[in-house]
Amino acid sequence: MKLRSLAAGLLVSALALTGCGKEGSPTGGGQAPTQEAASDVTVEGSPTFDKIKARGKVVVGVKEDQPGLGYKDPTTGEFSGFDIEIARLVAAKLGFDATKIEYKAIPSAGREQAIINGDVDYYVGTYTINDKRKEQISFAGPYFVAGQDLLVRKDDTSITGPETLKGKKVCSVTGSTPIQRVRDQGLTEAGNIVELQTYSQCVTQLDQGQVDAVTTDDAILKGYAAQEPDKFKVIGKTFSEEPYGIGLPKDDKALRDKVNDILQTALDDGTWQSIYDATLGKSGATAEKPTLDRY
């Protein structure tokens, strides 16, 4: 009976907690330019756009645990980062301002499925364009080009690049391109590959010493390193090219063309640059503007 009343007490106190609490965020964030929503947008022959229109809001798939790219503030629920701003830009040009966006956080492994299932209208979250994925979905962009790199603990000097990974435990996300590359090129033994569902889980394991390196695109890793510079460092030798695209339903060419137009305009009129400067660029790194790959 004692155990039961203890459990009941715990539940009650857990519920009571909702009554009182701090508000706001422990850290402040920089502001990116707000996008004006366009009016009277039509996208001829796009079932996705018709669906968005009928619903009155956009459902965007994003990451929630990647500082600098797609990050959800746990204390306010606000999303921020480069990918998020790109998602907002696209929504605005489709005629929906920031208040009419619903964000759905979807980890890498569930991305294709979320787009196929119609769970999200489009996906913006460190989504590398490749041919295999193009069989299931389609991509607009690229809107950014990253490269695969390694994140290690600050005091680790034994890892200096991809060729020094042998015998080290390497973590990345289930079904992601970086971990497939590690596997295909035999950068480390199969038994040393750890695949988890999110990068932040990998970073937690790196922090605790269960893995020796986290590998994925430098943009993602820089975000984690910038967040805790006294713990982690990025090696800085990229060994691949990862063009990031906006994931869209496969058969919706009309919407893909429209999104490409939006991106092209943003690249040309300086919007892209100002978004970059307000998010990823804050670390001081510069980036090349990507060239769109229309198909």
Binding site: K132, K169, L196, T204
Partner: protein
């Protein structure tokens, strides 16, 4: 059929690991479960309380959460060196500790089905506690323990699939590899389901047969 034949390597690897997970966890959980059951019937109240607390906590915790704990929290205890601690070991520990609570309950209720008169009679003829348990109680209890124990083991076999979410390449993870190769995920998953049916049905039949035979004898 093609999905299965073209990707036999993945299916074989997946189910091999599933069976390995099953064998290791089954052995460990049987041992641990028996120890727990002994604690739960022991005359020392502290042991009983400890056994009950363990069973209550574990039986009311989702297996996924147990996995979560053993993949992320357990390494902090530093019982096993970080270099040796693989997700597979984490999965075996999680499955064993979880299943042990159910094994314990099966054994305990098995002991409970033996009528107190049997034990009293055994004591009356001067058998020691060990003899009472070994020669009188356990042989009788085994009849009511084995069938539900098979159910528990079937559940364990099925539960190994949860490990797919925690970096263990087993039957549940076959999907990831199929989708990486661009194969039909649906067909692949249906094959996985079918193989599980083939693995589980004989065990179910065995369980029913034993149950029928022994319930008459009792």
């Amino acid at each position: 059929m093609d999905v299965l034949l073209d990707n036999t390597d993945i299916f074989v690897r997946g189910f091999r690991n599933t069976l390995l997970l099953f064998v290791f966890s089954a052995a460990a959980s049987l041992v641990l479960g028996t120890v727990l059951a002994m604690l739960r019937v022991s005359p020392v109240p502290v042991f009983r309380a400890a056994g009950t607390a363990y069973v209550t906590i574990v039986r009311n915790t989702p297996l996924t959460l147990v996995f979560f704990f053993f993949v992320f929290a357990f390494p902090l205890l530093k019982i096993i060196s970080q270099d040796d601690y693989t997700p597979f070991i984490g999965a075996v520990i999680a499955l064993s500790l979880y299943t042990a609570a159910f094994v314990c309950e099966v054994i305990r209720s098995g002991i409970n089905t033996v009528s107190p008169g049997q034990m009293e009679a055994a004591r009356a003829v001067g058998l020691t506690f060990g003899q009472t348990l070994g020669s009188v109680v356990l042989p009788q209890a085994a009849r009511s323990v084995v069938p539900p124990m098979i159910s528990t083991m079937i559940a364990l076999l099925k539960n190994t699939t949860v490990a797919a979410g925690f970096s263990v390449v087993e039957a549940g993870a076959i999907r990831d590899y199929l989708s990486e190769r661009g194969e039909s995920v649906l067909v692949g998953l249906l094959w996985v389901a079918f193989i599980f049916v083939i693995l589980v049905i004989p065990l179910t039949l065995l369980q029913r047969a034993l149950e029928k035979r022994w319930s008459v004898a009792r």
